[in-house]
């Protein structure tokens, strides 16, 4: 997908997340964080030229569905290492909080929000750069 489309989608998922009560709507809230974060990381990867916003080729991957799928065929750029780690943290919530039925306390929710904020902190400066 185009960089602009990823950012539009990330913004939309963020807006939808604000309509939810993270304590009550934990499963859906996690999915919103995950989608917004994945779109921001994809946009940053496209800007850096690590992946392409066009059609994937054997040499250059297109969009990642997750940090691990499809597996990047080049090293994660240094600028995005922390973002990958934070995105993986959000991805790992699915087992217990989306596909499972665990509830989350305030401390956990704050940790998840912090992980997402860190992704924005790392990707925002990249996605606003001029790109080819």
């Amino acid at each position: 997908m185009k960089i602009s489309e990823h950012l539009t989608k990330a913004d939309a998922f963020e807006r939808s997340a604000t309509k939810l009560d993270p304590t009550q709507d934990t499963a859906l809230y996690v999915v919103m964080l995950l989608r917004a974060a994945t779109n921001r990381v994809n946009a940053a990867l496209h800007v850096l030229g690590t992946t392409t916003e066009g059609a994937a080729t054997p040499v250059k991957l297109g969009d990642l569905n997750h940090t691990y799928k499809p597996k990047l065929n080049v090293p994660v750029p240094d600028e995005l290492r922390a973002a990958f780690k934070n995105l993986a943290l959000i991805e790992d919530l699915r087992t217990d909080y989306v596909r499972g039925n665990k509830s989350a306390d305030t401390a956990l929710l704050n940790a998840w929000r912090a992980a997402y904020a860190a992704i924005r902190h790392d990707t925002d400066p990249i996605v606003t750069r001029e790109h080819p």
Binding site: A12, S16, K19, A27, L28, D63, N65, N101
Partner: protein, 123 residues
Amino acid sequence: MTDADHIMQARHIFASLKKLSMPEDYLAIADGAMIVGYHLGNALLHKHGVLAETEHANTPSKLDRPINALPAPIQAAYEAFAELEKLRFDYVRSASKYDARLASVVWLHLETMQRACRDELTG
């Protein structure tokens, strides 16, 4: 999770989904519907002994068999789940714009799955 656990969780997430509105939340609704479908679908798989309670299938495309090889009473629900998966691909994982068709079909597919679960519960 047991079939009852999955159904309860599906109801819970469905209630969350109803806090959102088309068209502004169309991406979130298309995506969230898959999660409701996941729980309803796994409830049906457990109820019919297709999968043990310790196992799960994330999506219809990850099932170990085609939908027409599932027990007859749950095939329609799985056809609906497969449609939800396709909507996720078309709208969430691809460049997309809202269109009015989405608003009706998402809820329709979920209703098909919910009906299958209700039928199981009421026998």
